[in-house]
Amino acid sequence: MTQPLLEVSDLHTVFSTKEGMVKAVDGVSFELHAGETLGIVGESGCGKSVTALSIMRLQRPGRIVGGKVMFKGQDLTRVSEYEMREVRGKEIAMIFQDPMTSLNPVYRVGWQVGEPTRLHGGWDAKKALSSAVTMLARVGIPSAAARAKDYPHQFSGGMRQRAMIAMGLTTTPEVLIADEPTTALDVTIQAQILDLLRDVNREFGTATILITHNLGVVAGMCQRLIVMYAGKIVEAGPTTDVFANPKHPYTWSLLRSIPRLDAERHEPLKPIEGLPPNLVDLPAGCSFHPRCVFKVDRCSRDTPALLQVGDTQRSACWVTQSGTELKGA
């Protein structure tokens, strides 16, 4: 294996709330290689977004209390704020869930898209704008030169997300973190944006972290996949393997609980019973065990580590780690 581009190890990020300390990210480790698209999947509150924000050190008001984020030989959790600013937007770009609110309503789109090059490249306004127009055209904004003069509200949701992507790409970053980039969009627009992200990945070679709760999106986009639950990674591996042969009961159950468009017959769904855990008050042992159909005694006592299970996957499950196959009842 080559040297990973980005290496997150044992990352811990906590939030103080009225009810207590929340371990939003609890010992997350993964690698991102140049040019790949890595998916992070999980339900709301599982810590996938906080992980991404922690890489960018934008997790406030949360605090990173442990772990490393190695990027180009430096630990991003330790570099100065000034150095971090040089990384943000220049080497690691990020796009967010809601394109409606992620652009500043009072500045023209072209100005905003060009801002990173002004900040990081020291470009003058004219040069930044022309690069912004080029990039807007590149991400499929028709008559980009004219539309660059528009304000965000004059853009549709899909176009705004394109503009956000263009903004991330102006400095040709090595990593693009897309946090639920299509969740707020209609499916037909989602398809457009995913298509664009594929193009970007192919053409710019930008390594992408794609955060989503939609298993379908991951299936079509990512080479590798991380599944998170209650602040921890519960399973990781190549996408095809994880989907074909999940090694964690959560992944396994999740895949069986969602209806598939291509289902030939109407079969009842098999929901995951119970509720997602309260992060303030996690169950002892494996956080998933109260909902797990495979649980054994040990699950409620000891927290499983994320270990290699099978040839390509890692899983944090006592059951699969002990060699048991997950099979439906």
Binding site: M56, L58, M84, R85, E86, V87, R88, G89, K90, A93, M94, F96, D98, T101, S102, L103, N104, P105, V106, Y107, R108, E115, P116, L119, H120, Y151, H153, M164, M167
Partner: protein, 323 residues
């Protein structure tokens, strides 16, 4: 489009103007009894004099007739004459207007210049000592009556300082009685009233900016800005402040009627020869024509202020378009 918008707003405003003036008249009529403006307890006045004056002033007409007459004249550009001194109401207004504008504009400018940085600091250092200090000042601005603050300032900066032989500030009027009126003199006279008035504005607006800024700073586009790798200062001032200022425009627009009424207390306390003081004095003397004229004018200003705020809003916030 814009012209049409303005025109439509203007038409709608007419209704407001009619309503406000009619209510003003009704209020004065109901509280005045048979009082004839300009009539005092004066032994030389005899019943027939009073009756004659009533007729001359049209006060024996029913209020609706009086109003209709007044309105008719106003439509024809005639605001009538003061019932107290017989001079043109418009003259009164335009004589006082520059003074009021001078005071209010200064106070607003000072208010904005002070309130914006204070509000931003309060928002950025929420919960800090500076923020708590700001809160105290704001509450003081609300709680301390303007007249009281005015008197205190007079006591300190005019009377006490003078008594100790220190340089002191004049306490009333817009310029010195004798050989006054040059710029320095006017500025000296402006300091105390403008301070009181701007203190009031500052305390309101700084609070407003603070909460507005806090809200803006929690917006997604601020996170976007940070993710671009810009300094916090740039995030706050370039991306945050402009958005936070937009609602302030409305607030300031709403203060425009203060050109007439907002500075009233200050004008009275500091003997500032402005419209507010005029309106106040004349209201107490039941000078119907003057009060109605000022009310009319003030209402127009309110409307103009709102309109101006809306239009400014459109300049600052590209999402707003008029149609």
């Amino acid at each position: 489009m814009l012209a049409k918008y303005v025109a439509r707003r203007f038409l709608a405003s007419l209704i407001v103007v009619l309503g406000v003036t009619a209510i003003t008249l009704a209020l004065m009529k109901t509280t005045s009894g048979s009082y004839v403006p300009g009539i005092d307890l004066n032994p030389a006045l005899r019943p027939e004099d009073i009756a004659r004056l009533r007729t001359q002033l049209g006060l024996d007409e029913p209020p609706q007739v009086w109003y209709a007459t007044w309105l008719w004249n106003v439509i024809h550009g005639d605001f009538g004459r003061s019932m107290i001194d017989g001079s043109r109401v418009t003259d009164h207004i335009f004589e006082r207007l520059p003074n009021t504008l001078e005071l209010t504009a200064t106070a607003i400018v000072i208010g904005v210049l002070v309130a914006v940085p204070l509000g931003v600091i309060g928002a950025l250092r929420r919960g800090s000592k500076a923020d708590h200090g700001l809160t105290v000042v704001s509450v003081a601005g609300f709680a301390v009556p303007q007249f009281w603050m005015g008197l205190m300032l007079i006591l300190i900066f005019s009377v006490t300082l003078e008594q100790h032989g220190l340089p002191w500030l004049p306490s009333s009027g817009a310029f010195s009685a004798f050989q006054g009126g040059d710029l320095l003199d006017r500025v000296q006279h402006l300091i105390l009233p403008a301070t009181v008035l701007s203190f009031f504005y500052t305390s309101t607006w700084s609070r407003f900016i603070r909460s507005s800024m806090l809200e803006v700073l929690s917006q997604d586009y601020i996170r976007t800005a940070r993710a671009k790798g810009m300094s916090e200062r740039r995030v706050v001032y370039l991306h945050g402040l402009r958005n936070a200022l937009i609602p302030l425009i409305t607030l300031i627009g709403l203060e425009l009627p203060g050109l007439v009424s907002g500075g009233l207390v200050v004008e009275v306390v500091f003997g500032w020869p402005g419209i507010g003081k005029l309106a106040f004095e004349r209201a107490l003397q039941y000078d119907y024509t003057t009060v109605m004229g000022v009310t009319f004018f003030a209402t127009l200003l309110v409307i103009a202020g709102n309109l101006l705020a809306d239009l400014l809003y459109g300049v600052l916030d590209p999402r707003i378009r008029y149609g």
